[in-house]
C-alpha cells in the first residue's frame, strides 16, 4: 500500500497539468473558431508564426 503515497500525488499532478493546459488554451482563445481550425490544418501556405490573436 506504500505505493499509494507516490501514485496518488502523481495522478493528481498529471490531472492538474491537464487542467492547467485546458485553462491556458481557453485563455488564449483557442476554442473561438473550432470550425476554422479544422480547416486550417489543411493549409499548406500557412506561416510558421502563431497567428495574431483576436481580442
Amino acid at each position: 500500500m506504500a505505493i499509494l503515497t507516490i501514485l496518488i500525488p502523481v495522478s493528481l499532478f498529471l490531472g492538474a497539468v491537464g487542467l492547467v493546459a485546458f485553462l491556458w488554451a481557453m485563455r488564449t482563445h483557442q476554442f473561438d473558431d473550432l470550425q476554422g481550425d479544422a480547416h486550417r490544418i489543411l493549409l499548406t501556405d500557412y506561416d510558421e508564426k502563431p497567428a495574431p490573436k483576436e481580442k
Binding site: 500500500m1 485553462l23 476554442f31 476554422g36 493549409l43 495574431p52
Partner: protein, 727 residues
C-alpha cells in the same frame, strides 16, 4: 433618460463649434484601425487562405484573421484604410464581403461569461475525475485507514471545487431567496452545501459514507446545462447582432457643393442630406429641393408610391423612387422616428420575458417538494432513532442529493441547443430563449402581405388587354425611368423610338410620338382616373390606359401556408394595403380570412384581440407598421430583409428568402416541447426508483452517482432524437 440628457447637452452648449462634415470624415479615418467584414460565402480551407492572403498582400493591412465559425474576418490596418477599400480586394478573389459595424458587435461581455462557465466546468471535471478514482476504491471495499485517507484527499479536492464551481448557483439562489422565491438553485445550493459539510463531518469521524464525489459531479452536470443554455443564447445573440451590424447606415451629407459620406451617428440636425433614387431616407426631415415619389411601404404597408416635393415631410426608412431629393435633417440617429419605434418595441419586449417556461413551472413544483421530502425524512428518522441527529441529517442529505435536479438542469438546455442548432442550419434564427416553447403552442398565424408574403417586386397585369400599338410606346417610356414599376414594364415590353424623352421626377415620363405628347406616370398628371390598385397610367392619342400591378409571391409562401394548415394552424392575412390589392392577392394564395387597410395600431389590436380570445398567435411581418403586432403576438417571425425595428421586435428571424422554413420551425418547436416534457418524465422516473431507497436509508454514494450520471446521459440522448419534418 439618455435622450433628454443629450438634448440638454446640445442646448446648453452654444459655444460648441459645428464641425464640418469633411472634418468629421477625417476624424473617422484617423481612428479606424480595426475593420470587421462579414463573409457570408466563406467555406473551407481555400477561403481562409484566399481571404487572408489577399488582405495581407494589400498595402496598409497589418494582419487579417478569418473566423470561419462566425464567417467573419478581422483586419488590423493602418489608420487611413476603411472597409470600402478592402471589399473590392475580396471580390477579386471571389469572396462576397460586407462591412460590419464593430460597435454593434458587443459579444465580449457574453464571451466573458461563457469563458467563466467553461473554466468552472474544466475545474469541476478535473476534480470529478480524481475524486471518482478514489471513490471507486472506496466503493470496491477500501476500509479503515485507507478509506479515511481517501475521503480526506477527496475532501481536500472537493471543498475548493464546490466553493469555486458552485458560485453561479449560490449567487442565484441567494438572489431568489431575497425575493422570497424558491428557485431551482435553492435546493441545488442546499444539496451542495449539505453534502459537503456532512462529508467533512463523516471524514473526521471515520464514517463510511462521504458524498464528495456526488457534490462535485452535481456541480459538473449542472454547469454543463448552464453552459449549453448560455451558448445557444450567445450564438443567437451574435447572429442577431451581425444582422444589425451589417447595415452600417450612412448618409450623403452636402458640405457646400461637396458630397460627403458619413455614418448616421455623425449626421447633425440642420445638415442637408442628399437621397438618390433607390436610396432609403437615413433621417427624418423636410424636402428642400427636388421632386420624386417615395415608397412608404415599410412604414405603412401601402404599396402605392406617394408624391414628394419641397416642403414634404419624410421619415427615416422611406424609399426614394424617382428623382434625387435634398432633405434638411430634423431628427437623426436616436431621435429619428425609426429609432423611437425601436424604443417602443423594447418596452413591449420586456412584457414578453414574463412568459413562464416549462422549466419555471417544473422548478416551481419541484423545489418545495424536494425540501418537504428532505425535511420529513429528517423528522421521521429523528423520531424513529430517538434523536440521532447524525443519522437523520445523513438521510436527508442523501434525499437532497438523489433528487438533485441534474437531469432537470439539462432537460431543457439540451433540447433547446439541439433544436436551435437544427433550425439555424435551415436558416431560422431563434433570438429569444423562450421563443421555441412559445412557438410550439401556436394555433393561429397572421401574415403581413407586402414584403412578407410578397417580395415587394411588382409584376404587370393584363398587358395583353392593351391595344397592340401601345405596347412599344409603353416600353420606350418605361426604359427612361428607374422607378420599380417602370423597370418591371421595361423588362417585358419591346421599344420604339420616341422624341424628347424625359423624366419628370415625382410625376412620370413623357415623350413625343410623331409629334404627339405621350405620358406614363401618375393618374392626375396623365389625366386618367386613378384605380384602387397599384397602377401606372399611359396617355396615348388622347386616350388613357391603366396598367395594374401585382406583387411576386415570396418563394415558399404557398408551401409554408400548406405546411402550417397541415399542422392544424389557422392562417390569416392582415395588410395596410388597399382592399382591392389585398383581395386579389388573398384569392391568389388561398387565404380566406383577410383584413385590408389596417393601420399599425389596428394590426396590433387585431393580434391582441385574437390573443384575448385565447388564441396563441404567431405574427409574421417585416415592416415598421408591423412592429406593434409583432411585439403584441405570442411569438413573432420576421425575414432578414425586414426593417431593423421589425427584426428587433420579433423572436425569430428567417435568414433565407424562403418562407417554407416557418412550417419546419413550428414542427421542430412542437417536437422540442414534447422532448422537454419527456425529459422531465425521465428524470422523475429515476427519482421514483432512487428516492424510496434514500428515504429508508439504503442509498449509498455509489447509487447516488449512478442515478445522477445515468439520468443526465439519458436526458441528453433523448434531446438528440429531434427529427426534421417530412411532409
Amino acid at each position: 433618460m439618455a435622450l433628454t440628457d443629450d438634448h440638454v447637452q446640445l442646448a446648453a452648449c452654444p459655444a460648441c463649434v459645428v464641425v464640418s462634415p469633411s472634418d468629421r470624415v477625417a476624424a473617422i479615418r484617423a481612428q479606424a484601425a480595426r475593420i470587421m467584414l462579414s463573409l457570408p460565402g466563406a467555406e473551407g480551407a481555400g477561403a481562409i487562405s484566399a481571404v487572408e492572403g489577399a488582405l495581407r498582400a494589400f498595402p496598409g493591412v497589418r494582419s487579417a484573421r478569418v473566423n470561419l465559425s462566425l464567417r467573419r474576418v478581422t483586419v488590423e490596418a493602418e489608420p487611413h484604410l476603411v472597409a470600402a477599400d478592402l471589399i473590392p480586394v475580396l471580390a477579386a478573389v471571389g469572396q462576397e464581403a460586407h462591412e460590419l459595424d464593430p460597435g454593434l458587435l458587443s459579444s465580449t461581455e457574453t464571451d466573458r461569461q461563457g469563458r467563466a462557465l467553461l473554466m468552472r466546468i474544466g475545474v469541476a471535471f478535473f476534480s470529478m475525475m480524481n475524486i471518482m478514482l478514489l471513490s471507486v476504491a472506496v466503493w470496491s471495499g477500501a476500509e479503515d485507514a485507507t478509506r479515511d485517507l481517501f475521503h480526506f484527499i477527496s475532501g481536500v479536492i472537493a471543498l475548493p471545487t464546490v466553493a469555486f464551481c458552485g458560485q453561479p448557483f449560490f449567487r442565484s439562489a441567494w438572489a431568489s431567496l431575497r425575493q422570497g422565491r424558491l428557485g431551482m438553485d435553492v435546493p441545488i445550493s442546499l444539496a451542495l452545501i449539505l453534502a459537503s459539510s456532512i462529508s467533512v463531518y463523516e471524514t473526521l469521524h471515520s464514517g463510511e459514507k462521504a458524498y464528495f464525489d456526488a457534490a462535485v459531479m452535481l456541480s459538473f452536470f449542472l454547469l454543463l446545462g448552464r453552459w449549453l443554455d448560455h451558448r445557444s443564447r450567445a450564438l443567437a445573440r451574435s447572429a442577431a447582432e451581425e444582422l444589425a451590424a451589417l447595415e452600417v447606415p450612412r448618409a450623403i451629407v452636402l458640405d457646400g457643393a461637396k458630397e460627403v459620406v458619413l455614418p448616421i451617428a455623425e449626421v447633425a440636425v440642420g445638415d442637408l442630406v442628399l437621397v438618390r433614387p433607390g436610396g432609403r431616407m437615413p433621417v427624418d426631415g423636410v424636402v428642400t429641393a427636388g421632386t420624386s415619389e417615395i415608397d412608404r411601404g415599410l412604414l405603412t404597408g401601402e404599396s402605392l408610391p406617394v408624391f414628394a416635393g419641397p416642403g414634404t415631410v419624410v421619415s427615416a426608412g422611406e424609399v426614394n423612387l424617382t428623382g434625387p431629393l435634398t432633405v434638411q435633417v430634423t431628427a437623426a440617429g436616436r431621435e429619428s422616428s425609426l429609432h423611437r419605434m425601436a424604443d417602443l418595441v423594447a418596452v413591449a419586449e420586456s412584457a414578453k420575458t414574463r412568459y413562464t417556461t416549462l422549466a419555471d413551472r417544473a422548478s416551481r413544483l419541484y423545489s418545495p417538494l424536494v425540501h418537504l421530502l428532505s425535511f420529513s425524512a429528517f423528522a421521521f428518522w429523528m423520531w424513529k432513532t430517538g434523536g440521532d441527529i447524525r443519522y437523520a441529517i445523513n438521510i436527508s442529505a442523501a434525499v437532497l442529493i438523489i433528487t438533485c435536479p441534474c437531469a432537470l438542469g439539462l432537460a431543457v438546455p439540451a433540447v433547446i441547443t439541439a433544436a436551435s442548432g437544427k433550425l439555424f442550419r435551415k436558416g431560422v434564427l431563434i433570438k429569444n430563449g423562450t421563443a421555441l416553447e412559445r412557438l410550439a403552442e401556436v394555433d393561429t398565424v397572421v401574415f403581413d402581405k407586402t414584403g412578407t408574403l410578397t417580395m415587394g417586386a411588382p409584376e404587370p397585369l393584363g398587358l395583353e388587354a392593351l391595344p397592340a400599338e401601345a405596347l412599344p410606346v409603353l416600353g420606350a417610356l418605361a426604359r427612361a425611368s428607374a422607378h420599380p414599376l417602370a423597370q418591371a414594364l421595361a423588362a417585358r415590353l419591346p421599344t420604339t423610338p420616341l422624341d424628347d424623352l424625359r423624366e419628370v421626377p415625382g410625376y412620370g415620363v413623357e415623350g413625343r410620338l410623331n409629334g404627339a405628347l405621350v405620358r406614363l406616370g401618375r393618374a392626375e398628371w396623365v389625366g386618367a382616373e386613378a384605380l384602387a390598385l397599384t397602377a401606372t397610367y399611359l396617355s396615348l392619342n388622347g386616350q388613357t390606359h391603366a396598367v395594374a400591378f401585382t406583387d411576386h409571391i415570396r418563394p415558399g409562401a404557398e408551401a409554408a401556408i400548406a405546411g402550417l394548415r397541415a399542422q392544424g394552424i389557422a392562417v390569416r392575412l392582415v395588410s395596410g394595403d388597399t382592399e382591392a390589392a389585398v383581395a386579389a392577392f388573398a384569392a391568389r394564395i388561398g387565404i380566406a380570412d383577410w383584413v385590408a387597410g389596417a393601420l399599425p395600431a389596428e394590426k396590433a389590436a387585431l393580434v391582441q384581440g385574437l390573443g384575448a380570445e385565447g388564441h396563441k398567435v404567431l405574427m409574421v411581418g417585416d415592416g415598421l407598421n408591423d412592429t406593434g403586432a409583432l411585439a403584441a403576438a405570442h411569438v413573432s417571425i420576421s425575414p432578414a430583409q425586414a426593417l431593423d425595428a421589425a427584426r428587433v421586435a420579433s423572436d425569430i428571424v428567417l435568414l433565407g428568402r424562403d418562407l417554407s422554413a416557418i412550417a419546419d420551425a413550428v414542427f421542430i418547436a412542437r417536437q422540442a416541447a414534447r422532448r422537454m416534457v419527456q425529459n422531465f418524465g425521465i428524470s422523475a422516473a429515476y427519482n421514483v426508483v432512487a428516492v424510496p431507497l434514500a428515504l429508508v436509508g439504503a442509498a449509498t454514494p455509489l447509487a447516488a452517482a449512478l442515478a445522477m450520471s445515468l439520468s443526465s446521459i439519458s436526458v441528453s440522448l433523448n434531446a438528440l432524437r429531434l427529427r426534421p419534418w417530412r411532409s
